[in-house]
């Protein structure tokens, strides 16, 4: 059997008084596209941040390619929540995407024309070429999200983590993003996505990770995306009416 590319053991994390994550264990195989789902406050974003050393872990270990994060970080791309930055910052879309190349350019060096071209290609891929010179504050939410994704693409990472890339975006953007995610998967990249819409989980992801402070269930979507597991994750009161009435759980999260 293949070796897991991401291995999480006994991971715990907290915010002030509350433990948000406890005893999280899971392995992720190379080339999988995993959706992380769970109710508000389940610790989905915290899980990503803790894995990426952006939030301190209380206990446990995280390894990528069998290495600790510090040694693997060049091969990891992260797309934070759109709301995590100030979009009023005076810069344009191309410049934000170029930031994805800063690691490759090297510290204290200036990005050259080649880097700008690479960034432009990534924007083009996200259908955003016409907006390259556009001030980022003047982009719509969906366009901002695509800029963020383009910035991750230029990193040419092997593992991608995305925090709610589909939250509050229009249908065009959702399609564009999903096309890219599936393409990444098809070329063997590993992608983990925090997702909020249970309706689309089966269409979008081949693996799903149910999270509510700890891992409720993790595995192939076809096997474990069941009413029981959803109820277990979201609490007993949650009725999964997916097949009967589309739209009831649609606005969950």
């Amino acid at each position: 059997m293949a070796k897991p590319i991401i291995k999480i053991e006994n991971l715990s994390a907290s915010y002030r008084k509350n433990t948000v994550l406890h005893d999280v264990n899971f392995d992720v195989m190379s080339g999988s596209l995993t959706g992380i789902v769970g109710p508000n406050g389940a610790g989905k974003s915290t899980l990503l941040k803790t894995m990426l050393n952006l939030h301190p872990a209380l206990a446990g270990s995280v390894s990528f390619f069998g290495l600790p994060f510090a040694k693997a970080k060049k091969r990891i791309g992260y797309v934070p929540q759109r709301g995590s930055v100030d979009w009023d910052f005076p810069t344009d879309a191309l410049d934000v995407v170029t930031m994805g190349l800063y690691g490759q350019i090297g510290w204290l060096r200036r990005p050259g024309r080649l880097h700008k071209e690479k960034a432009y290609e990534a924007l083009e891929k996200m259908g955003m070429a016409d907006y390259a010179d556009r001030q980022i504050s003047q982009l719509s939410g969906g366009q901002q999200q695509r800029v963020f994704l383009a910035r991750a693409l230029v990193q040419h990472a092997d593992i991608y983590f995305m925090d709610e890339p589909l939250a509050g975006v229009d249908a065009t953007t959702e399609r564009a993003i999903m096309t890219i995610l599936k393409e990444l998967k098809s070329i063997g990249k590993t992608v983990m996505v925090v997702h909020h819409d249970l309706q689309t989980v089966e269409d979008y992801f081949d693996h799903v990770l149910f999270l509510n402070q700890t891992v409720i269930k993790h595995g192939k979507t076809g096997h474990i995306f069941t009413k029981e597991n959803i109820a277990k994750t979201y609490g007993g009161n949650m009725h999964w009416k997916g097949e009967v009435n589309q739209g009831v759980v649609h606005s969950f999260e």
């Binding site: 970080k73 005076p90 934000v96 930031m99 800063y102």
Partner: protein
């Protein structure tokens, strides 16, 4: 008037306040995007007790030593603000307000003690409150110039690192930039800029040197690079022109004049700035209004004709 400009001491002082303005304008942009404008005010007020304590210890007015004293006390202020915010329920702005007034009060108290001590009265320490560029001697000017140029150099050499650190620190950390290191560097150059400025501009008005050029520049550009360059230019102009005006009168303080010039630049930017300036906004609104009216007219005419 010309004779003032020809005086070589004035030329040096003008040059140093101009470079100080450039440094302050540059750092001010970072404070602006870190949303730490009030922080720079708290830090400059916190510098006062350090200046006086350093003077009481060495009993002479050596700018370099006084600057070190100022830097230590400003850093203690910064540390206390951080500590109060993280270890209690007091919010950051309240913590800054507390530290600002406590340190400034302590500074004034120590100053009155120092003024009573032998030689203290002639020390010119009062000048640190409102600033007196003319009181600077050549060695002061050189100390100031070197430190200001160092600050400017640090910002421009790592321009791209500062930019990503300001825009998206989490992403910067992800690609291997040390956020802690950048924050320490930022605080160091901010405090350096403040302490070299307090003799010329004074602890009370130093924050205006940092904040005003940056907010003025915001009205003219959509690029971070140009914002920094403009802010540096505005700061330099304010420093030089303000110092020049204050040199016209005998014993006029420098700080207030620099701040007045900076404020004039701000008002002009607010009114005429091409990015969201009041005038351009009004013109755009009028233009849209006109087209909207015209559209309505053609629409109603079209209906009448039917």
């Amino acid at each position: 008037m010309l004779s003032i400009l020809l005086n070589s001491n004035t030329q040096w002082v003008l040059l140093s306040t101009m470079i100080l303005g450039v440094a302050a304008g540059t750092i001010g942009c970072m404070a602006y995007w870190k949303r730490q404008n009030l922080m720079s005010d708290a830090l400059s007020h916190s510098a006062l007790p350090g200046v006086v304590i350093a003077f009481l210890l060495i009993q002479e007015k050596n700018l370099f030593i006084l600057i070190i004293g100022a830097a230590i006390s400003a850093l203690i202020g910064a540390f206390l603000i951080q500590w109060i915010t993280t270890s209690s329920r007091i919010s950051e702005d309240s913590a800054m307000g507390m530290i600002l007034s406590i340190f400034y009060g302590m500074g004034i108290m120590l100053l009155s003690i120092a003024n009573r001590s032998a030689g203290g009265n002639q020390s010119g320490l009062d000048k640190f409150i409102y600033g007196q560029a003319a009181a600077m001697v050549k060695s002061d000017v050189i100390t100031m110039l070197i430190l200001a140029l160092l600050v400017i150099f640090i910002v421009f050499i790592a321009f791209k690192e500062w930019k990503i650190n300001l825009f998206d620190p989490q992403f910067a950390k992800g690609i291997g930039l040390s956020i802690k290191g950048m924050n320490i560097l930022y605080t160091s150059i901010l405090v350096t800029t403040i302490v070299i400025g307090i003799q010329a501009v004074g602890v009370i008005l130093m924050a205006a040197m940092l904040v005003t050029p940056a907010v003025s520049a915001r009205y003219w550009t959509r690029s971070f690079k140009i914002m920094i360059l403009l802010s540096a230019t505005f700061g330099g102009i304010a420093g030089a022109v303000g110092t020049f005006i204050s040199a016209l009168g005998n014993g006029w303080p420098t700080g207030p004049f620099i701040v007045v010039v900076a404020s004039v630049v701000f008002v002009v930017s607010l009114l005429f700035g091409k990015e969201n300036g009041i005038l351009i906004k009004h013109l755009q609104f009028k233009m849209h209004q006109k087209t909207a009216k015209l559209n309505l007219q053609t629409l109603t005419e079209g209906l009448e004709n039917k």
